[in-house]
């Protein structure tokens, strides 16, 4: 099997699974239980949190363990909105966010919030001037993703952070689910107040995630209960999942340091080769995250290509898995200004550090074959 859908989810690392098994069989105590067995679980929880905080260069009181990216984004958006609505009810985000941001914002509209969606250019990047113009007296939150999940564009988080810093009354949230372990991000330096991460995108397990919350920030919790996770996210901790994710975080941070150039090479190779295929257009901008290549084959139904490759045990995707069910067109590609022929015919290839050049070469050969077959069938 050649798995090239790593932006949807990744294969759990075997050593991460080992930790999961060990924790879930040996340390199943409840960290809140007062007895020694619970104490052991609590100690492990604190160790995991300390390690996560060290790897992200923040304090351990600034990490909240969640069930994943969707939850993290919801806690950030709604938590800020509900806690600080007396200050203002205006939120700024972009047209290319993940549905968990977009839908959370749409939900808040019903509670009287106003949302500004910033447009992006063909490279999938917002304009800083647009952002400056959009900030108002009553703006309480800017939420902008770091790396886009469909095309891989990288937002200028540092510059956005500088703008946010000039407005001390508003908060700055970054969705870094796709960037973690591939594109470095400096939370403290760039003035980021909240940042969402997911475990299963970095070879951890589904149902795990983290939210960074700067220690001076108050949030309205979505889950009330037993005061776990600094009272921001009640519910018995998924300790085995948490330990697994933090281990995965350590492993991917090492790879980010040592192997990211290799990933860029694979990406560049794909781009260079698909450009040679007739009628294929590359949607991923020049300056992009290393693991995503988005292409369109106008006139060719992407699902057919997916299934043809699937029969050869090669797995890529159309737009993001999370919005694929909605309708034909990619909202992100439409926002980038691509016409319908391109925004409805997109394919996404997404890499992990495990992919090899050999796999990529096979994939290119089979992609050429699939497109050719499809075209001949139409003639």
């Amino acid at each position: 099997m050649i798995y090239l859908d790593n932006s949807a989810t990744t294969r759990p690392d075997p050593s991460v699974l080992e930790s999961f098994n060990q924790v879930t069989t040996q340390y199943y105590g409840n960290p809140s239980s007062i007895h020694q067995f619970g104490g052991l679980a609590e100690k492990l929880l604190i160790s995991a949190k300390t390690q996560a905080a060290d790897l992200l260069h923040v304090d351990k009181e600034e990490i909240i363990f969640t069930s994943g990216g969707t939850e993290g984004n919801n806690i950030a958006i709604k938590g800020i909105a509900l806690e600080h609505q007396n200050r203002g009810k205006h939120i700024i985000t972009t047209e290319i966010e993940h549905p968990s941001i977009y839908e959370a914002c749409e939900g808040l509209k019903k509670l009287g919030f106003e949302i500004t969606y910033l447009p992006v250019n063909e490279q999938g990047i917002i304009s800083l001037q647009d952002l400056k113009n959009a900030i108002r007296e009553d703006t309480i939150l800017i939420s902008i993703m770091h790396v886009n999940n469909e095309v891989g564009s990288i937002q200028p988080i540092e510059a956005i952070g500088e703008i946010a810093k000039q407005h001390p009354k508003l908060f700055f949230h970054v969705d870094d689910v796709q960037g973690l372990g591939k594109v470095p991000l400096n939370l403290k330096k760039h003035g980021i107040d909240l940042c969402t991460y997911s475990g299963h995108k970095i070879h951890g397990l589904k149902g795990t995630g983290m939210l960074y919350v700067n220690r001076r920030i108050k949030l309205f919790p979505l889950f009330h209960g037993g005061s776990q996770e600094l009272n921001l996210r009640s519910g018995t901790e998924n300790l085995a999942g948490i330990v697994a994710m933090v281990k995965a975080l350590r492993l991917i941070k090492e790879k980010e340091k040592n192997e990211v150039s290799k990933m860029y090479e694979l990406q560049q190779y794909i781009i260079q080769e698909v450009k040679k295929i007739d009628c294929v257009a590359v949607n991923t901008p020049e300056k992009a995250a290393p693991h995503i290549v988005n292409i369109s084959v106008p006139g060719v139904k992407p699902e057919v290509i997916i299934h043809m490759l699937g029969e050869k045990d090669i797995f890529i995707s159309t737009k993001s898995a999370c919005s694929s069910k909605l309708k034909d067109e990619s909202k992100v590609l439409a926002a980038c200004g691509f016409k319908a022929d391109r925004s409805t015919s997109a394919l996404r290839i997404s890499l992990s550090y495990d992919n090899t050049m050999e796999e990529i070469k096979t994939f290119i050969t089979e992609l050429k074959w699939a497109i050719n077959e499809f075209k001949q069938a139409l003639e």
Partner: protein, 398 residues
């Protein structure tokens, strides 16, 4: 372009006259110790300066480590470039742009290398002009600038810095001997330890553990606090004293109102023994005047009777809020407030004496022989060495 080293300035240490060499050597050692995990990072000294050479590492994490080292007055990120005007211009602009909310700046050029073709004054103007033309909304203010871009043209290269981050001040840990910190797990004692370390004191810690009245977690909390303190100094030995039996005896045999005072006296006696064994010359406590019953003037007078070792009490005149503020700053607050019982909270008498008298305490103590239990406590001491890397048994899982 990137910051490639950190410039370290030491303040008070420069006043130390003949001992200065020893102080600076200790500081260099301490800095080296803190950055040794970053590959290729080097600590160097030239002409009254200390530099941390980043050699490709991200500056922030290293800066964070250095900010926690006592004996450093201030730190600046710096760039080293060849002695070429164009390169210096580029670096000065980069350095200025790294600063936040800048409205005004000034440039100060020092030309130590007189072979450099442009004179200092002229170079000031060249750089000032360059910065003005490449930025927006920023003006020059030579008297009170938000940022001073400092340029030092030396023989081997030119160094450019802009921002200045304050260090913790104080003296390098290891230059003022060792003290034994009575670490309870509350808010005060870690702060006391921190402040003793600020004056160059290396600490060991002692904790009185009373299972089952106090839990493993209370003990773990103390180890965690010690670990947090290692960030500001060296590794810390923690001596855990099994205190249950002695404590039970005190509360069974002694009058209720005096039990607390006698318990504190026992702690000091045991601590002094540990000092003797470890070659430590003083005790450090988080005591504060007038805070609780055991910390009145009378109480201190009575408790202090049992030892003539110096007792460092850094918090003695502080307000509670000041202590809490420091506790937040040094990252011990969240751990300190975890709600586990410690040996001081579990056996609280209903009405402790706020004005205990020496003669009365001595009389009560003479009515019972505590020495076997004291001896037993001393023999049962478990010592753990905590370093900033002490993880625990879980490192294989993570």
């Amino acid at each position: 372009m990137e910051f490639d080293h950190i410039l370290i300035r030491y303040g008070e240490m420069a006043l130390k006259g003949k001992n200065i060499k020893q102080f600076i050597n200790q500081l260099q050692q301490n800095v080296q110790q803190k950055v040794k995990d970053f590959p290729n990072v080097k600590v160097k000294r030239t002409q009254g300066r200390m530099f941390v050479l980043l050699n490709g590492n991200e500056p922030e994490p290293i800066m964070e480590k250095c900010k926690k080292i006592f004996g450093i007055q201030s730190l600046s990120l710096a760039i080293k470039v060849d002695n070429e005007v164009e390169k210096v211009k580029e670096a000065a602009l980069y350095a200025l742009k790294q600063e936040e909310s800048v409205n005004t700046f000034k440039v100060s050029v020092k030309r130590i290398n007189k072979d450099f073709p442009v004179r200092s004054q002229e170079m000031n103007q060249v750089l000032g002009g360059h910065l003005l033309s490449k930025t927006e909304g920023i003006t020059v203010d030579v008297h009170n600038p938000d940022v001073e871009v400092k340029v030092e043209i030396r023989k081997e290269a030119t160094y450019i810095t802009s921002g200045v981050t304050r260090g913790l001040g104080g003296l390098p840990v290891g230059t003022s001997g060792k003290s034994l910190l009575l670490l309870s797990g509350g808010i005060d004692s870690p702060v006391a330890g921190f402040l003793a370390m600020k004056r160059g004191v290396e600490i060991e810690a002692i904790h009185f553990h009373s299972p089952p009245y106090t839990s493993e977690r209370a003990k773990q909390k103390v180890l965690d606090l010690a670990k947090q303190l290692t960030k500001f100094g060296k590794s810390i030995k923690v001596h855990i004293v099994p205190f249950t039996k002695l404590q039970q005896e005190i509360f069974r045999e002694m009058p209720d109102a005096y039990a607390m005072t006698i318990m504190r006296r026992m702690m000091f006696r045991i601590s002094e023994e540990v000092c003797k064994k470890e070659g430590i010359l003083s005790l450090t406590t988080g005591e504060n005047l007038g805070q609780v019953a055991s910390q009145t003037m009378d109480s201190m007078h009575t408790i202090n009777e049992v030892t003539n070792y110096p007792i460092i009490r850094p918090l003695v005149t502080m307000d509670k809020q000041e202590v809490i503020n420091i506790s937040h700053d040094i990252g011990t607050y969240e751990t300190s407030i975890l709600p586990y019982e410690d040996c001081c909270t579990i056996f609280v008498p209903k009405s402790p004496k706020t004005k205990p008298k020496r003669d009365k305490v001595n009389y009560y103590e003479s009515t019972y022989d505590f020495s076997p239990s004291i001896q037993e406590a001393l023999e049962g001491i478990e010592t753990t060495k905590i370093t900033d890397k002490t993880l625990d048994s879980f490192s294989d899982l993570l």
